[in-house]
Structures are given as C-alpha cells and as structure tokens.
Symmetry: C2
Subunit: 359 residues, 2 copies
C-alpha cells in the first residue's frame, strides 16, 4: 500500500490512524460482532458513539452549554436553506459575499426571505476579504452571514465582521477544527464535515438555543427544522451513523495532538512553508493578499495556463494529487487540512523548486 | 473476531464479503493511494464508482430508460417532504395507511398539500393490508402513496393497489432489492438504503422522468427538488460518497448471487423457515395474517410480556442480536434482510424450539 499526498479541497485527506482503526473495526466494532454500519442507531453502542463524539467536540471547541450540537444530513446546501427557514423572524438577512459558497447561500435564502449582499469582494475575483468594520447592516436583519474560510479562493476572515449587534452565522466548512474559535461570538457555526473532519454526508451545526424556534414551523419540512434535531439528540431519524463514527475518531485524534491550540500552531507552520516559498518564487505566485490568506486552502499560479497544466501533470506523477484549482478559477490549489502532514507540504515545495529550476 | 446474527430492522446486517472488501480498501482504493472517503466526488475514480453503482442497480431492477436513478441524502423523512413538494400539481394526494411510516409520510405531506388517508389497517394494529381493489381515489389526486413493506408491523403488499390511473408512489425501504419489481407500475420507487442495501445516510429514488418538474420550483429548497439531482447526475453537491460505494458493492454481491429472482427465492425459503416454525409452535405466534406477511420483517409474540423479555435476553446471550420488537408494538421481531444467511434463521428456530421445550 502506498498513500499519496492528497491536496483535495474536499472530500479530503483523513488521518491515517483513523482510517486504520476504522478498517480494523469494520467487521466487529469492539467485540460486538457487528460493523458500525450494521448497528441500530438506537442501540446503546451507537448512542455511546454519538454522545462521545458530541462531548469531545464540545471539549475541543469549548462550546458553551447554551449551544446545541446538531448532526444533520445533506451537507452545506441543506444549511443554506435551514438558516433562513429557521432564523428569519423578520424575513430579512444580510450576506457578506466572499466567494461562490456565500453567494449560493444567499441565493438559496432568497427563495424564502429578503436576503441581500451588504459587502462583496467580487471586484477582484474574491482575492481579499472586504472591510467589515462598518457595513450597512439593516436595522431589521435577522442575521449576518459569512463563509469564514473560502475554499475556492483561499481567503479567510481574520477578524469577524461588526454585525452591529445582529446574530452572526458562519459557514466554517473548510476551516472546521483548524483553529480555536470563540463560539459565543456566533449565533450559528455550521460546517460540512467532508473537508476537515470526516467523510461526506454530514454537517454539524452549533446553534445557540434561543435561536431554535420553540414551536414547530408548520410549513417547513420536519428535517429542515433545527428543533427536530435539538429535541431528539440528532436521532429523530437515522443519522449518517458511519460519518458520525469517523468524525468521533477525528475528534479523539485532535485531542491527542493537543487540541485546537496545538493544531492551529501546526497549521500556521505548515501553511507557512508553502506561503514562504510562494512569496520567494519567481515562477509560482500566491493569488491572495497576504493579510487575508487561508491556512487551509492555498491557491497559486505560474501566470501561464500551459505551465499550470504541465505542473499539475508532473506533480501527479510524483504522488501529489488534486492540485488542480477549482474549475471556476483555474491554476493550482493546495488544500492542507489538519490531516495533511507537514512532510506533504515540504515535499511539495521541494518538487516546486525542482520544477522551477528546470523551467 | 466473532460475528453475531444481527436481526436489526435497520441499520442492519450487511454481507460479510462487502465489509471485508471495504476494510481491505480503506487506506488505498485500488492502488490510488486514498480511501474512498478522501476522494473528490468529482474525480474520475468516484464518478466511476457512482456510474457503476447506477448501472448495476438498473440491471438488477430492470429499470426502464425513462426513469432516473437519484442518490439523495437525508433518508426517508426527506422523501416524505420531496414527494409532495415535487409531485403535487393539484395539491391533492391519497395515502394508504399501513403503519407508522405511511402515516408519517402523510402527516409530512399535510404541511404542504391536501393529503388524505383513503384506507387504513389501524383497526387491527396494522396486522394486515387493507383491500385496495376499489378505493375512493380522488379524481384530482396527484398520486397514491404506499409503504410497500411495513418494517414495524411485518406486513407487505402482495398486490399493488388499484390507483384508478393515478401515479403510484412507493416507499420500499425495508424490501429494497429483496425481490423483482415491475418498475413501470410505479411513478416513484424510493428507499432508504440503511435496511437492506447499505449504511445509513442515503436514499435512492427511482423517478419516472415526466414526473420531475421541468422548471425550478422557486419556493422549494434546491436540495428538495428531484430536478437538482436529475440534472446533475446526483452530483449537484457532495453526495454521501461512502454510502454509494458500499451500496455499489452490495449490488455486485446481489448480481453474483443471481440477481433479484434468485434473491427472492432465497428470501422466501429463509422467511419460510421461521414462519413454518411460528405456525407450528405452541408458544410463539406470528402476529400478521398469513396472506400479508413480509419476507423481511417477522414480528412474533409469546403472549406474555415477561416471557418475551426473558426470551430476548436469553437469545442475546447466544448471539442473536436485536430481536426486540419496535418500541411501539413490543414482542419480538426478526428482520431477515438479504444479507442474513439462512443459517442465522435455522439457528434461531433451533434456539426457539429449545426455549419452548424448557418453558
């Protein structure tokens, strides 16, 4: 078996230790004689898996007691609907557009409410984060929405926007568990887990309790109501059990590494290896302004589409996979999530140096 | 490693061969150096997995070309919403209530449309299937809805209802791929895969193309529109990739066994072992009338709640797991899905005979 360095933006690299454990437990989870895939979601074994996962996540993120942790199927696109359907009392929300995902979230919200862009970095192809210190947040806005790390463009909010007292909702999919966060500054933090935490098919929403509607919303599908998950410990129906199980293992792995503070230090060092090279190279250039760079997704270009293509092919041959940039932007992108070892980035930089020397 | 006989109603037993393959491929799928959980859903490797799964399912079920096969997250409860949201042009639908799941489907539909029960077997605790040869189907009904196999009560439709020309929609979750079906008799066949096909977190909907709305439904969440999946080969967003991969392996396993005809014969023989014993036992009794019995879910009772409880504990000690009946009905239930080997049922009957002899 030979593992590649997988720079995919998502689904993405998972810790090898986690995969090894999952393989070893596939036919018989801890002597119970079944796979986790075969267990009733109402069995004690599975509820232990679920409750342990939640407890570990609460510890990692230091989640206050007045926030619910909800495990929801359907990925980010379902959250794009759930946020406005559950939060909009006035039917008004303000969005900060820093890329495709924030824009898709706003477009989806517009199916149901008056959702409006109050800032955008589209003018420079989303290569920066707009100044959010004094935005025209509407008086009656139910919430202000951001995508805190932009997978496609490689930007990240280093400071949270001034929401002028309104509830902040953040999609953190591509930076989930990559650094400590002050949960209390948010109304909702949600992330699809398939980038930095686990396999596809699951989102985790951390929702302040007072934002969850107290009554059934009679015209909203039951599975699109946060209340359904909050009232039933995410077991109203059968959840994506196997994804929860894998995420639980990743939470343990992060705790063993020293939690999110240690992970953050590691991620800064790791991303720094690539950014430092990009800032010194004649051939390769980072596309994002220095102050807004993501630690997770690092887009870069040579300036020549032909050379980009040649580089991607040559890199793949050497076991550096999925370096092609998103189809909407081209160039290259290295996604260096928690599970990417620093050796992967060091080897990549070595390869880039060789490539540059040869061209 | 010692595997138990797992009679869980779902999530449920999977073929051991499938789990062994999945374990072997966990860190490195066919030499690509990644787990299937780590692959981009837009990679050639994953699209091959998806397309092969669809082709094998089409072959197994003999699905006509004018039906789409859609892989959808969110399980049955999301289908309860999607069916009325996508199909109701007149806003009218008729439901045949043969248990909790059909009833939940109707209640969910009532959020959006005029959904009405036109038959029910509630009068005898859902232990039979109502006569559906001449029901008061409404003239303007958009569809008639059934749950074709009732997991909790152990009944199954042996004949499809006379819908008087209206579109038939069937939830087949707990009988999915257990027998051949004439797909053309249905408008939609959908099933959550976590009972008879794969891990939780995925439903498969087989939808006749003309029933899929041609235009976007502006007030319906994008992920709750069949069109979104049909237009994008189920890749509008990241699907539950790992569940699709496991289902694909189950499809191959079924083909290798001789397809659905052979599986049906096997299932009749296997269920027959238990039903024959139940019909001859003094202590154990099947709860469902003979002509409406499910081949997948077999509820039974001793007539004494204490003895039921004693039996369940004793059976568990011998490695017969999850025989407890659903919390709403009590007693016992043996779910004998495709992946349950006949030895499992033979051993169970032997154990039941011994138990009866001792009491």
């Amino acid at each position: 078996m030979s593992r590649v360095y997988n720079f995919s933006a998502g689904p993405a690299v998972l810790p090898e230790e986690v995969l090894k454990e999952a393989a070893a437990e596939m036919l018989d989870y801890r002597g119970c004689g079944m796979s986790v895939m075969e267990m009733s979601h109402r069995s004690k074994m599975f509820t232990d898996i679920l409750e342990t996962a939640e407890a570990d996540l609460r510890e990692l993120m230091n989640i206050p007691d007045n926030y619910k942790v909800l495990f929801i199927q359907g990925g980010g696109n379902i959250q794009f609907s759930m946020v406005p359907l559950n939060l909009a009392k006035n039917g008004v929300a303000d969005y900060i557009i820093t890329g495709n995902w924030a824009n898709k979230a706003m477009k989806e919200a517009q199916r149901f409410i008056d959702a409006k862009a109050i800032a955008s970095s589209k003018d420079k192809t989303f290569t920066y984060i707009p100044d959010c210190s004094d935005l025209p947040v509407r008086e009656n806005a139910d919430y202000v929405y951001i995508c805190q790390n932009n997978t496609i463009y490689g930007t990240a909010f280093k400071e949270l926007p001034n929401t002028k007292g309104k509830t902040l909702v953040a999609d953190v999919s591509s930076m989930f568990l990559s650094q400590p966060m002050d949960v209390e500054k948010y109304g909702i933090i949600w992330g699809g887990v398939q980038k930095n935490v686990g396999p596809a098919g699951l989102a985790i929403a951390i929702v302040r309790e007072d934002l969850i509607p107290a009554e059934d919303l009679p015209k909203v599908p039951v599975m699109l109501q946060y209340k359904t998950y909050a009232d039933n410990n995410s077991l109203y129906n059968t959840p994506n059990c196997y994804a929860i199980y894998i995420c639980g293992k990743v939470f343990k792995w992060l705790k063993n590494r020293g939690g999110l503070e240690a992970t953050y230090e590691f991620n800064k060092k790791k991303a720094g290896v690539l950014y430092d090279f990009l800032d010194s190279s004649e051939m390769f250039k980072a596309t994002v302004v220095k102050e807004d760079r993501s630690l997770m997704n690092i887009p870069f270009v040579t300036g020549s589409a032909d050379l980009d293509a040649e580089f991607i092919v040559a890199a793949k041959k050497e076991g550096f996979e999925n370096l092609k940039g998103h189809r909407t932007v081209g160039g290259m992108r290295a996604s260096v999530y928690n599970a990417m070892p620093i050796e992967g980035v060091e080897e990549l930089v070595k390869f880039m140096k060789d490539f540059e020397a040869k061209h």
